[in-house]
């Protein structure tokens, strides 16, 4: 595949009359615009994420089929009909590049001499190993359901493409076993085989799912597979092909492509691997205000378990390690809806006195302070920093402020380092993080022991029946469903959308609660601050033990 900057496209896939369902066996010779490289991949990622979501909700195969048809239609179309196939193929191969990478990178990371960075890199790589498995599973699922949606003719073409050495059962053979085939069909409530029904004779090892469910007739080591069951066969083949291909792609990426493309494709590929494709939580929308005094209360009522745990630990230890700061910090950034409060959070964990005065000075200077604030509106970061620095240089010295604190504040706003604005982590990302000793991040439904999880759920206010339901989901590794059930138990009403993102949990929760309780507005605190007339720091600090 040749990546070019020119706008024109030459396509040959459709002309060759290949089946409408590509097998992605080899990269085609197509020219792709750089912009399309990224856009196509993101569209496909939306489809894969949608599938992942559907599966984790336990949707049945018929429902998944529908979902896949909808997702494909919504995301993978193209104004030019001839381009639809190209988009399919190109997007798949781009995502292969994104998701093929694994531990191979570790050796190259040794140029980072700081151990902290190395540990950071290793954690990213572990995350990637899970992502590779995720990609493999979702692409296989996508293929499986698209196959089911094809016509019988198209399905036969795919079977031929795979060069599966499975023979169609001859008429005479069919006559001999017809009764048994009928019995099997009746036992699984399928349509009965007619005289012209096609069955494939396949070694039983190739179709473990069908054997396990007693959905095929077995004789002398062969399974007799009905046409509609061939999906299983084909999905297994697809998966194994893709798995091998990913290993090869990884080698190629590491040895040549990554370096060659470091100014062009590599940054796009790297960015895609950390992107979250779901509802946009990078901008605070209609979250309403959350004040400092409120934080402890909303933590109890509206934080999902993962954030509640981190928050409690922060209050207890006055400290969180790196990933915990990332996970909680990014979550809160959206919540707190103001730069000042976010800075307050960082100061909290730096163990310095609580800068209430500065925070509200920021508010006061905002002409729109009476209205709910959107992130980004209001005091500019630079102005706030300047004010902050002036206020605290007496205590820590201007130099130290610049060195130690300004950097980290600016970093989290994307002003330093990679210059990427970190978006709050989705459930998917959080579930993939693995905490080690001394860490409190990750998804508690995945990492807590049964005992601890039960205790945490009780503390959150889930009744014993609810706890059992949640534990059942956990045992089946449906962590997001477990969180959804927790939400439903605590709020006493259903959450049909299901929980995919901690900020979504928070906003859904707040919506329910606000309709029940009047919200505390910022103005209350502003008034109290004005009344207090900027008290000395020690007094302020005592308000928040």
């Amino acid at each position: 595949m040749e990546i070019v900057r020119r706008p024109q496209l030459k396509s040959t896939a459709i002309d060759r009359g290949v089946p409408t369902l590509p097998l992605y066996r080899s990269a085609p010779s197509l020219e792709v615009r750089l912009e399309d490289f990224e856009l196509y991949a993101i569209d496909r990622l939306r489809v894969l994420t949608g599938i992942s979501d559907g599966l984790s909700r336990g949707k049945r195969p018929e429902e998944m089929e529908k979902l896949v048809a909808e997702l494909w239609k919504a995301n993978m179309r193209h104004p030019q009909a001839s381009e639809v196939m190209n988009k399919d193929i190109i997007s798949h191969f781009v995502l292969r590049l994104v998701y093929c990478r694994t531990y191979g990178l570790c050796a190259l990371s040794l140029d980072y001499c700081c151990f902290h960075f190395l540990a950071y890199r290793v954690r990213i790589l572990a995350h990637r190993e899970d992502l590779r498995k995720w990609f493999l599973s979702m692409e296989t699922a996508l293929f499986r359901y698209r196959f089911r949606l094809q016509t019988a003719e198209a399905q036969r073409a795919v079977l031929a493409e795979f060069q599966l050495p499975y023979k169609a059962v001859t008429t005479s053979e069919f006559e001999v076993i017809k009764d048994k085939l009928t019995l099997v069909a009746r036992s699984i409530n399928q349509t009965l085989p007619t005289a012209d029904a096609i069955f494939y004779k396949v070694p039983f090892q190739e179709v473990p799912e069908l054997v396990a469910g007693r959905r095929v007739f077995l004789s002398d080591g062969y399974a007799y597979v009905a046409m509609n069951q061939v999906v299983s066969l084909v999905a297994t083949q697809f998966r194994s092909l893709l798995s091998k291909a990913l290993t090869l792609t990884n080698r190629k990426w590491m040895s040549t492509i990554r370096e060659q493309e470091k100014d062009r494709l590599t940054p796009i590929v790297e960015a895609l691997s950390t992107s979250y494709v779901g509802p946009d939580y990078s901008v605070g929308r209609e979250f309403g205000e959350v004040s400092l005094k409120d934080i402890d209360n909303v933590a109890k009522s509206s934080f999902p378990l993962c954030m509640r745990h981190l928050f409690d630990k922060l209050r207890e230890d006055h400290h969180l390690k790196h990933w915990g700061r990332m996970q909680l910090g990014l979550f809160l950034k959206v919540l707190l809806n103001s730069i000042g409060l976010f800075m307050e959070f960082i100061w909290n964990i730096s163990k310095l006195p609580h800068p209430l005065t500065l925070a509200f000075t920021c508010y006061l200077s905002n002409p729109l302070m009476q209205q709910p604030m959107e992130l980004g509106v209001g005091l500019k970061l630079d102005d706030a920093l300047a004010f902050w620095k002036a206020e605290f240089s007496q205590k820590v010295g201007a130099e130290r402020f610049d060195k130690e604190y300004a950097y980290s504040i600016r970093h989290n706003y994307g002003k330093e380092g990679k210059r990427v604005d970190y978006t709050p982590y989705s459930c998917q990302k959080i579930i993939s993080l693995t905490p080690s000793v001394g860490d409190h991040h990750g998804c508690p439904y995945r990492h807590f022991s049964e005992e601890n999880l039960r205790a945490a759920l009780c503390k959150m206010g889930v009744n014993s029946g609810g706890v059992e339901d949640v534990m059942d989901k956990v045992r089946h590794k449906h962590y997001q469903l477990a969180c959804t059930l927790t939400f439903e138990a605590i709020h006493g009403c259903p959450n049909d959308a299901g929980i995919n993102h901690p900020n979504q949990y928070f906003s859904d929760s707040q919506k329910i609660l606000k309709s029940k309780v009047k919200c505390l507005r910022i103005s209350f605190l502003v008034t109290s601050v004005i009344d207090l007339e900027f008290p000395p720091i020690s007094t302020v600090h005592s308000l928040h033990p």
């Binding site: 099997v184 039983f204 090892q205 473990p208 054997v211 396990a212 004789s219 002398d220």
Partner: protein
């Protein structure tokens, strides 16, 4: 105890001077075991089996094969030694005789010698992992405790043993007819169950996923404390495998044997247990009412009579209901269908006790069972350790080079092992090896030719 009976009842046997004065203790102890390992344990046969033809002279033989097989020993005081391996039959014999293990387990063949596993990485190319392992099954009669009333726990008797017989028949037929396996060894576990070793090359190379699929194919009973009905046969018909199992084995087992040997309908509690399996409460109530007014003086076996009532009521067609369609079969399956230990079969690295071990609690030898004549197998007459040693002593001096086991009851088992299992297996291995070798030669010839 059985052992003492065996000893006392044989007063008239010629007993070697040394033993005459001793009252033999209950059949299992370290000294006896030492003797057993010295004289009777068939090392050569086990070695030949585990080598699968690789101990021969053919160029295709893999000399490292036997050495990559994991064995484990359980010693006295429950000391457990894992990841043991041996490179030859003499090393095997030496190892066993030195340690005198109470139990020997056989594990998989690994990619490298298991005792050297730490030298290899856990991921990437040179991985330590299982590469071959027989397909195994473990059936334990304690898994049937909720449907057998004659014994419970570790006990087994001739009233409940037919459950094991049925399990062997059902599984063996399926392994041969459905899955196409040929080299199947059934072994008595020594106390209360049976083990099955499927040794075809095809079976040894199965992945965990495929093993799980086979185990699930066999699974019917889904027990859990919470549901009353543990067998649920939905669908308008039964799968041919279940039909065959029912008509050839289970129906008769239930009606001819279990009904009376287990007295399934003899008390109110036991009747209730069956009635709970009927999803339609009105049907259950009807039967319950009928049975409460027990007509006295009837000479017919109450179990058979009540079973007829039940069948008639459910199959008469009077009551139509979703769950009732297969209720009769479900009840029969609940009481008689094989219950496998799924975990044993699903993983390549699961260890299983070796045949010809002696069970520490019963002293009985784990002898092979002939599946064709499994209904004749009697677990209460399986040779015990002390019995064998007695036989050895009294059998007189044999010729030099004779096998000692031939002078004892063990002889029958070893001969059966060889003729019906080992010899056909090794013949097939040889053929497989030769044909694979020849086709490889052919391939390389083809690729070299211009």
């Amino acid at each position: 105890m059985v052992i003492e009976e065996a000893v006392n009842g044989k007063d008239d046997m010629l007993i070697d001077g040394q033993m005459a004065d001793q009252v033999l203790p209950s059949g299992f102890n370290l000294n006896f075991l030492n003797l057993y390992y010295a004289k009777l344990f068939p090392y050569g046969d086990i070695f030949k089996w585990m080598s699968y033809g690789n101990d021969g002279k053919h160029p295709a033989c893999d000399k490292s094969y036997f050495g990559r097989r994991e064995l484990s020993f359980t010693l006295e005081n429950d000391i457990y030694l894992r990841f043991l391996s041996f490179n030859s039959v003499s090393e095997l014999e030496k190892g066993i005789r030195e340690k005198c293990p109470f139990k020997i387990d056989i594990g998989p063949v690994y990619s490298v010698d298991p005792s050297k596993r730490h030298a290899y990485a856990q991921s990437g190319e040179n991985v330590f992992k299982p590469v071959e392992r027989e397909l195994i099954f473990d059936i334990d009669i304690t898994d049937y405790d909720d449907v057998r009333y004659c014994c419970s726990g570790a006990d087994v008797c001739l009233d409940c043993w037919p459950l094991m017989t049925a399990a062997i028949k059902v599984i063996n037929t399926a392994l041969r007819d459905d899955f196409g396996f040929r080299h199947i060894l059934w072994v008595y576990s020594g106390r209360r169950g049976v083990h099955c070793w499927v040794c075809d090359g095809k079976a040894r190379r199965l992945t965990n996923e495929q093993r799980a699929a086979i185990a699930d194919y066999f699974r019917v009973y889904k027990g859990s404390e919470n549901s009353k009905k543990k067998v649920s046969l939905t669908g308008h018909a039964l799968h041919p495998f279940l039909v065959r199992s029912y008509t050839e084995v289970l129906k008769d087992l239930f009606e001819q044997t279990l009904l009376s040997s287990q007295q399934i309908f003899s008390t109110e509690d036991r009747c209730e247990k069956v009635l709970e399996m009927i999803p339609d409460e009105s049907v259950a109530a009807e039967l319950r009412g009928r049975w409460q007014k027990r007509s006295s003086g009837s000479k017919d076996d109450i179990n058979a009579v009540r079973w007829e009532h039940l069948k008639h009521t459910l199959q008469s067609g009077r009551h139509k209901g979703q769950g009732l369609r297969r209720c009769v079969e479900e009840i029969v399956f609940s009481f008689s269908y094989p219950r496998l230990d799924m975990e044993v079969s699903k993983h390549m690295n699961h260890l299983l006790k070796a045949p010809f071990c002696v069970h520490p609690k019963t002293g009985r030898v784990c002898v092979p069972i002939d599946p064709v004549h499994c209904h004749e197998f009697d677990p209460t007459t399986v040779p015990t350790l002390s019995q064998l040693l007695q036989e050895l002593n009294s059998g007189g001096m044999g010729q030099e080079g004779d096998n000692d086991w031939d002078r004892t009851s063990l002889g029958e088992s070893v001969r059966f092992f060889r003729s019906s299992f080992l010899e056909p297996l090794l013949k097939a291995c040889k053929e497989e090896m030769e044909s694979a070798y020849n086709s490889k030669l052919q391939q390389s010839k083809n690729s070299l030719s211009w």
